[in-house]
Symmetry: C2
Subunit: 321 residues, 2 copies
């Protein structure tokens, strides 16, 4: 499972960072999932290997423009590219209303169906490859995290058990490996009794805007990775005031340390933080603050940075653009 950042700036773009967008990529093939779609996400996609034809679903965390103003253009572009497959959009209900108004008032006719699912009522979503679950967060408007859990994990035959039960090696083993229940010496051997899963299902949690990271306690307990906003360092968060309902680097890092999270990726940085660490304030200040509280593996997102969650639960940055 990979994640590829399309935008990492809060509120407004900078010359180095677009507003929020994140692609979650399935293990194999060209399937991918989009979380949030700030303005110019379609422009960012033109600089990646991702195609609108491989897009399986869109998840929107909340209605603020820096997380959704790229939707009309992305959908129009997908239409012009000849997409025909229905497209699920899991989002706060207001997004459905806004896209409907947009389609009507700008005469946007799409050659594919939009399947809206209001996240407020969603019990879970799956396409058979990933299970997605929503968790309510705390922000100025209703905001949600999405957790992506792989649906299938690779199975291997339990050779020791097969040998202990003297089940003869050969085609029969192959059929059990393929999930088939097999008649053998008057008994039915159930495939599921002879398969084991050497790695647990991977889970990546992607938060929306949120001032209370501990709301993710339960869903993060079995996650290897949390992607969360860290809009400010504490000093600037205090100047801006609590009404904006964002998290500081310290807030998120403290939460991640408390639950023993192995991998934390911070994103959604206020545009005031300079890319260049020689300037002040800079993104490096956010890293420094987070490191003071969290000693797991910490990454700060950048546009087009791609990370891979390996089967063993390790997260590493990959350079495959």
């Amino acid at each position: 499972m990979d994640i590829l950042f399309l935008g990492t700036s809060a509120g407004a773009p900078t010359r180095q960072r677009n507003v929020t967008g994140l692609a979650v990529l399935a293990e194999q093939g060209s399937d991918w999932y989009l979380v949030d779609c700030g303005e110019a996400t379609q422009h960012q996609l033109q600089r990646t290997p991702l195609s609108v034809h491989g897009l399986q679903a869109i998840f929107i965390t909340h209605i603020h423009g820096d997380h959704c103003y790229g939707l009309p253009g992305l959908l129009a572009g997908a239409g012009m590219s000849g997409r025909k497959a229905p497209l699920p959009i899991i989002a706060p209900a207001g997004i459905a209303g806004w896209l409907k108004a947009t389609q009507e008032l700008t005469e946007l006719f799409l050659p594919f169906e939009l399947e809206f699912i209001a996240v407020e009522n969603m019990q879970g979503w799956t396409d058979g490859k990933l299970h997605v679950q929503a968790t309510k967060l705390s922000h100025r408007v209703p905001s949600f995290a999405y957790s992506f859990t792989e649906a299938r994990t690779e199975s291997v035959l339990d050779i020791a058990k097969l040998r202990a039960e003297a089940i003869p090696q050969g085609p029969l083993w192959g059929r059990l490996k393929n999930g088939e229940d097999v008649a053998h010496e008057g008994q039915t051997l159930r495939s599921s009794d002879y398969l084991t899963y050497p790695h647990t299902a991977r889970r990546i949690v992607v938060g929306g805007d949120n001032d209370t990271p501990s709301l993710l306690h339960e869903v993060c307990a079995t996650a290897q990775v949390l992607v969360h906003e860290a809009t400010y360092t504490t000093d600037i968060a205090e100047k801006v005031g609590a009404r904006v309902q964002h998290s500081s680097a310290a807030d998120v890092a403290t939460f991640a340390a408390d639950i023993g999270l192995p991998n934390l990726v911070l994103t959604h940085f206020s545009p005031r933080y300079q890319y260049d660490s020689a300037q002040s304030p800079s993104i490096a200040d956010i890293r420094t603050e987070a490191q003071a509280h969290y000693h797991g593996q910490l990454f700060l997102a950048e546009d087009f940075a791609r990370f891979r969650l390996h089967k063993n639960g390790e997260l590493s940055r990959v350079e495959v653009l």
Copy 2:
């Protein structure tokens, strides 16, 4: 008067061209006017010297997304930059409805007022520097051209007349030059009687999407520059079919030749035309087709190309980004 292209691609962006946006710049100072606002216009502006604080008004030619989907983000960004001045938006009535829906459904609160003027009913707009007039075009949805005419042209004293009437050189001449009526030897000398205008008011006409350039006949008669879409070459226009209601390079060039237009700038090229002239079809094909019909000064727009309309009516490309 300058024009600065922010986007020159039709329908969808390419890696070299954004969707439509054009800045018209006043003669002096930081005042400017925006014609159309495709998605990521605010991103493009970050690569120019233009500021949202100098933006005097926005003109939208028609409701199609590639001409307006950048509006919500541009307005949100202007709000975050602390703009307080009211902002006139001259646009088809549907744009007002769409922006109202967008503000409500995405909780976009702006610290400045939007002053909507429905172009369908507009008799003309001015800020004292430029007069703007709208002309209805022919497209799949109501579409308009905007003509920008300078309101004041620089005056000079009619020295010959002053001398012929023996009006003594000195402070009195200066007052007449400044527009003041002056008492002199029992008479009132009217400033307007002693001022002449060595150059005519400059006019730039910026078309929206349009399949009938001749609709601009009247407004172009006193214009030095027409900026017009040339979405296709004739061969591809015929394949696509007339239902899209765009102009070919030949259509626009023939019109410009017929009326003796001195300067023609083509833009809004279908993304299928390659930037690289070694590829096919390429933007160079559009130039070749236009040149076969029009022998005035022809330019093909590029993103960030800036052109200056000089007082003598000449248009030249300037490199001042």
